[in-house]
């Protein structure tokens, strides 16, 4: 079902949403665009290609307390971490919505991750389709599209005099104001995107697991965590307990396979010490392990954030092309 929303309707609707719920929306912070909780509609910007960081941080925050144990008059009390209100993410791009759907694989498979599940169940997604593609975008090669409505509750598409809302789920329907009229208007056609060769890339990664390619590519890699932290599907984390006299807290924070200590195990042994092995892990996880483990698509949605943010231009599109070419050739 498609409904028409005027610009005025949208403002009133968002105003209502931010009073009733936690509303996360794109906000300009210096020269960045970030999803942040907003208390006023005026804080929201809709003039952006994509946000600097993906919305994954709402479901897997950079840092969160999973639970705490508090001393309550000599009795230990376990306090779990919950969000105070239902939430809405407004303005996320279809690629990022797919990123969230992919993260469901590891986090919702039994036994599910309680804090993630709670946030996921209590958050509605209002997507915003892309009328323009960015130079780094390649979502259509990764099973999504600028107008992909598969992973959102409502998808908005901007038209000349407002927006068309495609109502995808019951959750979405319940969220919309009642008085909207149906729209028969044809949706504008999505922008054309570059194509990246991904067919059977999983096989190529398997074949080239021991290829010198990885060490060569890693020559340039700085092994910072930028690619992982801006990525909508990278979900690795570290955990630690912190305590003082009254309180013990189990904390989870983002971590990345590019850190040297990431794979260090008890006793100090590190099975992944070379630069090439660390860089290969990033691509092998996305292109090989993830689809095999979770029977899902490969763990890249084509948002291009890693391409844009990498300080030394490690470009996943180029890596995938290289792998396909090397596989045909039978290795380096």
């Amino acid at each position: 079902m498609n409904l028409y929303i005027s610009r005025g309707d949208l403002t009133r609707w968002l105003d209502q949403l931010c009073r009733e719920r936690i509303l996360l929306a794109p906000v300009r912070v210096q020269e960045l665009t970030l999803f942040q909780p907003v208390s006023k509609v005026e804080e929201i910007t809709l003039d952006f290609g994509n946000t600097t960081l993906s919305p994954k941080g709402w479901f897997l925050p950079p840092t969160e307390a999973l639970f705490s144990v508090q001393d309550n008059d000599g009795q230990s009390q376990l306090v779990s971490s919950i969000i105070e209100k239902d939430a809405v993410i407004f303005g996320l791009r279809p690629c990022d919505a797919k990123g969230i759907a992919l993260m469901d694989g590891p986090f919702l498979r039994e036994p599910s991750d309680t804090p993630y599940q709670e946030r996921r169940a209590r958050t509605s997604l209002i997507g915003l389709s892309c009328r323009q593609a960015q130079p780094e975008c390649f979502c259509t090669s990764m099973g999504s599209a600028p107008n992909d409505s598969s992973h959102v509750d409502i998808l908005l598409t901007e038209i000349e005099n407002g927006y068309i809302a495609q109502v995808i789920t019951k959750k979405g329907k319940a969220l919309l104001p009642k008085a909207l009229v149906k729209s028969e208007e044809a949706l504008p056609s999505p922008p054309e995107l570059q194509t990246v060769p991904v067919k059977e890339i999983t096989l190529a990664v398997r074949e080239l697991f021991n290829d010198p390619y990885w060490e060569q590519l890693a020559d340039r890699c700085l092994h910072c965590n930028v690619c992982a932290y801006v990525c909508p599907t990278c979900y690795c984390f570290d955990m630690r307990d912190y305590s003082n006299k009254e309180n013990l807290e189990r904390v989870r924070s983002w971590d990345s396979c590019q850190s040297i200590g990431f794979s260090r195990i008890a006793g100090g042994y590190n099975p992944r010490t070379t630069k090439g092995a660390r860089l290969r892990q990033r691509f092998a996880h996305k292109l090989l392990y993830f689809p095999e483990e979770f029977q899902q698509d490969i763990a890249c949605v084509g948002c291009g954030r890693c391409i844009k943010s990498c300080p030394v231009n490690i470009d996943i599109r180029e890596t995938m092309s290289d792998l396909k070419r090397l596989e045909v050739k039978g290795g380096s």
Binding site: V29, Q30, E31, L32, T52, L53, P62, T63, P135, E136, Q216, D219, R220, L222, H223, C224, N225, V226, A228, Y229, V230, D238, R240, Y242, V251, S253, W254, D255, S256, S259, I260, G261, K275, I307, K308, S309, C310, P311, V312, N313, D315, R317, E318
Partner: protein
Amino acid sequence: MDSELIQQIRNQARSLLESGEVKGIIGYERASDGLTARPFFAYEPAAVERLIFDETCTHNLTKYLLNKKTEKMAVVVKPCDSRTINLLLNEKQIRRDMVFVMGVACPGVVETSWNHKDGTLQARCKICQLVEPLVYDFLARHEAVERPQGEPYRDVQEMETKSVTERKDFWVEQFERCIRCYACRQVCPGCYCPECFVEQLDPLWVGIRIAPKENELWQIMRAFHLAGRCIGCDECEHVCPVNIPLSLLNHKLEKEVKELFDFQAGLNPEEQPPLTTFKKEERLGFEE
């Protein structure tokens, strides 16, 4: 792009690889956007055709020497980067006989990001006084280089006019955005500890939280570890994904060290950095 300059670099690189004098060349090639530059490693003579040099060559390639200590490498250095060669020699992180320095007389580099370059010189280039690298084995030079006469530490002086509270509020707000991706550390040629304090588990100096207090501690310690050692390439700021103005912090420390010790890092490989030495006559206000 100055094709004569590039030809000089390629010719030298080819002869170094063909003679076997070096194992590889660390230089620049065109990035995937077809517009800016990225680091490039050439190990075969044929690969030198990919080498470029232009106003988008912002990276300080000397960082990579730290990964290549066992094989002799040639590295393309701008005048600013050459100060890092001196720093790393002084701190005994590289051996002079294991590095072939391919200096480039540089007219300055511009602000870039992926698929974007603008016409303005980077702030560090506006105050750079070096026409040629301070150390080199070969110098690529073509067009005459003129140095702008910018005044250093303008950014610091402006900050110094603000009150302590204003300055504190400014930095707290900046550090709140930090996601602790450590790109600033990873790109810095002065950051080479095998295990960074921020990742040490025993003792645990900084917790794993990506949160204001921890971010602040990380950023302050990072800056202090570079006091009197930072050569001002500003790469940390350039790579920060959340635009924290790290160079401002580095410049402040550089200015303090200059005023106290009349020392700037990397100008001379023989001169000991003041914060790694102790002289009895230096009292710095204690018991005076």
